[in-house]
Subunit: 350 residues, 4 copies
């Protein structure tokens, strides 16, 4: 960071929401059972079940997204079964081969918007005919996706229906689930998820927690002895209370959704300004990750003031950048960024 | 816990030391890089290198002991290599086959005191002669051990010398390293460890942190691309700062050692009282886990007031119990326990 | 071998029974489907089902014992499940950690006679209580065992009943099944096996085939998509006919059992002679592996004439040796061995 | 097969070359050491070293291609390393995820001709920047490829040079190496391979053997304790002689190359006829797999007489078929096929 004004690099640049730190302090010396069998985990599980309006699911807490992804996938699949993912999928690109390290192939579908469709999945299924090939058994989607897009309820319904017909599990990576659910581009509700997925997780790390993802197992076939998988992979925290306290706090007083709404609003405020300055986007801004397309000269100047990723080359003069906001992004930083972008653009025009 | 007076079940019943919570608060909104590349992790690494008086080591932070164990072991071994452990070793018994899940056999040495010797290891080596068997390549020891004993500097020196002669890596599980180093039964110093092991870790979870173990790679052969292993196994926290801040705090103002010393003192105060009441122990009390041998009738009554594990049957009338103290054990709880034990014994005698 | 008279090292020193070579020649240019879907494999499967008097089983052919063992075990177990084995078990000692390489722990039972009992297994079950430990799910036994002993029908019935009560799969490694079934020490019939095991295999390599073990899946729970496991582990031969032709031949005209009977008779002839010379055995000679206890001076002299393993030290003057016979051991070699042993003993006595 | 005239399905429809069967008979009762330590394996290793004019390599025998592929790859790579393959690569498509089952990701390069170039590999390398992604460390190529094309010496030289510069191992899958080396489309010699690859294997199964691939380790870094990998994966045959005898025979009297030359000649004779009938090909016929493009009506009629795969749809009226010949394809079958194709075409034209 050094002497830059603000970082829009990612949604995990800061610690935790104040209320979480408060709750950690308040409960600190209360003795509890270890390994997720404490009262706070119990309370958090109840609050999540209430929030999704379903008490038949099983809820487990782990530390992070990669852990959640490979544990869910490897617990669901037999050794010869594979998981289908978009080419942009976090499991395919950014998890150091964690899924393959557990023995499973990822069947990759080329995707430009980060999402996948039943038609694309069907092609994969048709190709895999016998025991000389892996057997696709799970579909992995991210919501919001790695490039900021979101699934609508209709899209998810179609996907789930197709998966049910084909005997595939549908798994939603919800590392940024809050932002997806608060997106104006989607009518999907958290209460829809137990019906429309076999398993999903509720990301805490990128929405106000220090660490933590809440895995929600909806399909009974996936529930059996899940704690064995968590423990075997080193994901069962001795002080599971750390996860319980955080999710209890996030699912009290609507904090989880308020955090995500704030992140989205900050992103959209920037997006509006970008648009009004005449710049375009890589994909429609839909969640807390937006991808403005800017002249390279503008990017160079912005980079001296703010931290963010330059995402992809668009043409010889322009590139897309990734701007990420979060529960912790102050509106002042957003306003400052807009003012600086506007000013840089003004200089460019001269 | 319900209405019991106190739990001596384990050393992770509470949250974190106050100074850690304070540090989390103070730093909370300072933006940092993710994945352990933040300033706090950097500072913690420097403090640890200073504490062990060696700046050639590599220091990495992970969440817990099982994670630390299987990542260290699987990163060091080739697919056909195995690790030697005491039969009491945490990796053999209490990690749901995590080491085997990464593909490696554990060669088990029967141990009554939790420790292993060069002579025992040599028998394993002599037995494994060719490619029809695994090839032992690492020795795993715990200090303090799972049953509260500690290695002396002389014992560790012999072990390390033997391992060097035989081309074996020596790995010390330090989940309870603080308590071991503060034990009056051992002259071992933390500054000895880089010389006498190839890799060890400094346990935070059981000595005042919410989560966290600091892996110290001493042997150059083990350092290469270690972060790939951490990431692939889902152990690279997005908010690595959580680990950095904690270890920075623990290694400031001697907190790590003070915490451990307190835990030991609380255990020894109980041990003295137990001894003065005429009861014996399973092994000599050496660290924050002690194993008094009590009449079953006494145990039954104590159990109505305090939480602890009944460990093993000693004879028809007596069993050993495990009493664990920690940085968070108040002296008042210890005094209360001693008074109640004394009182129960008095009733028994009547 | 060089200039020694004969090797009693193992039962795979020679090629294949003449009838197998004949069948390979006769069928050589008949075009067939690959991957075990040829007519010979079909016929062999039918002959085996007839021999075991059960047409509900699934029969698959693989190349060798280690392959059969780890494929059966890893296809049956979930990632957190373990297999119980005698300490003498081939999977524990002589397969370079193949089972662990597939991710599974072996729970070892100390055994002096190579066999295990329900009481021993029960202790393992009682110890493994929760998700911090692996979950034993399969029992692995060898028949004949690695030290030549055999299970009686009564022993196997008890073991199977216990496994059923406890929800454990019972897996019999039959690398030397022929010799076990032809043993005068056991009343077990091959037709008993589908009732008394969940899966077993019929060893070909050590009973007259060039390569090949026939895995017989009895329990429906183990049958699903087994060919995927065979293929994924590189065990599905393109020219599966090689396995089919061999097992078709072995299970025609009683060849499998005649081969084994011959092997046993050769071993027992040696055993009788050893006994009549006044020497003892490590365990009662029961199959084609016998373990005479001989003076070290006698062993030294025998070793100049015959190849065999010196097995274990018995006392300062005596060791046990392993003598293995096979379908290919000519009676003349046995007679020569007996004569030489007798003559050496005679020299010793002088 | 039933009542069809001949099968051009694959090059493993028959047993073994007569000389191999002869050698198996001749040597059958000679006692040998097990596990590839017999005299025939030793002799075969010497003959192969002579044929490739290099005695610094290590030669190991395994049963089949999938086994060879995953053992070579998993022995060479660290857990976080990946292998680069063409999209047509056998390891990517037709091995039931065997490479992933050993924990490694395959980085896939889209290929239309079955081959890959340094430029394509470089894009993969540039993309994989840090520990959040796998680290590509090996390039896997097949020669001949899965679609019948072959690498020229110039192509292989460029590839090898590039791999050396980038620190990548170059691994050639030689399941059909004989046919590739005998191709008129390539000037590559078997003596070039130790210089131009780090490891390759010489396929026996598809060139006259019952089973068997000879893995040739050229790069010293790949040689260490390779037998441990073979054994751990169940690929070390007790009767290793079966592999030794076959490769000894194949590399005596030029049999390996004569077999391949015959296979190619049979394919080219068909290719000439196809061309003269005015049909085109999918790729230029280069080895023992050719892919004529035929009218669907012609394919239907041919299918009633011969077995072969219909490979891919070319347009609404035409498809490509795969015709595979082998050492065992009699010229009479080829002539018959040509005559029938010609006759069917004649009928079509009417």
């Amino acid at each position: 960071m050094s002497n830059l004004k603000f970082s829009f690099l990612y949604d995990y640049s800061e610690g935790a929401h104040d209320k979480i730190l408060e709750a950690l302090s308040t409960t600190n010396l209360v003795q509890q059972n270890g390994y997720g069998e404490d009262e706070y985990c119990d309370q958090a599980r109840l609050l999540i079940k209430k929030a999704i309006d379903n008490d038949q699911v099983d809820v487990h807490f782990v530390s992070g997204g990669t852990q959640a992804n490979y544990i869910v996938i490897s617990s669901a699949l037999k050794p010869y079964e594979s998981v289908i993912s978009a080419s942009t999928g976090h499991i395919h690109v950014h998890e150091t081969g964690a899924v393959e390290a557990k023995g499973h192939k990822i069947n990759v579908i080329d995707s430009t918007d980060g999402k996948i469709t039943p038609e694309q999945i069907d092609k994969v299924l048709i190709f895999h005919t016998d025991e000389h090939m892996v057997r696709p058994k799970m579909v992995y989607i991210s919501n919001s996706t790695e490039i900021g897009t979101v699934y609508t309820k209709t899209e998810l319904k179609k996907l789930h229906l197709f998966c049910q017909e084909k005997g595939l599990y549908l798994f939603m990576d919800g590392a940024r689930l809050g932002s997806a659910l608060m997106s104006p581009e989607s009518d999907l509700q958290i209460t829809d998820l137990p019906e429309l997925t076999d398993v999903f997780y509720i990301g805490g790390t990128k929405n106000g927690a220090l660490i933590g993802e809440a895995i929600v197992l909806c399909n009974d076939a996936l529930k059996d002895r899940f704690r064995y998988y968590i423990k075997q992979n080193g994901a069962l925290l001795a002080k599971g209370r750390l996860l319980g306290i955080q999710f209890k706090t996030l699912f009290s007083n609507n904090l989880y959704f308020d955090n995500a709404k704030h992140a989205n609003q900050m992103a959209f405020k920037i997006a509006e300004a970008v648009k009004s300055l005449g710049y375009d986007f890589l994909g429609k801004p839909s969640s807390n990750q937006i991808f403005p397309i800017l002249p390279n000269s503008v990017i160079d100047k912005l980079n001296k003031l703010y931290q963010f990723y330059t995402w992809s080359k668009v043409d010889d003069n322009r590139s897309s950048v990734r701007i990420v906001t979060s529960w912790a992004t102050p509106e002042s930083a957003v306003d400052s960024f807009i003012a600086d972008l506007s000013s840089i653009k003004g200089q460019e025009s001269i």
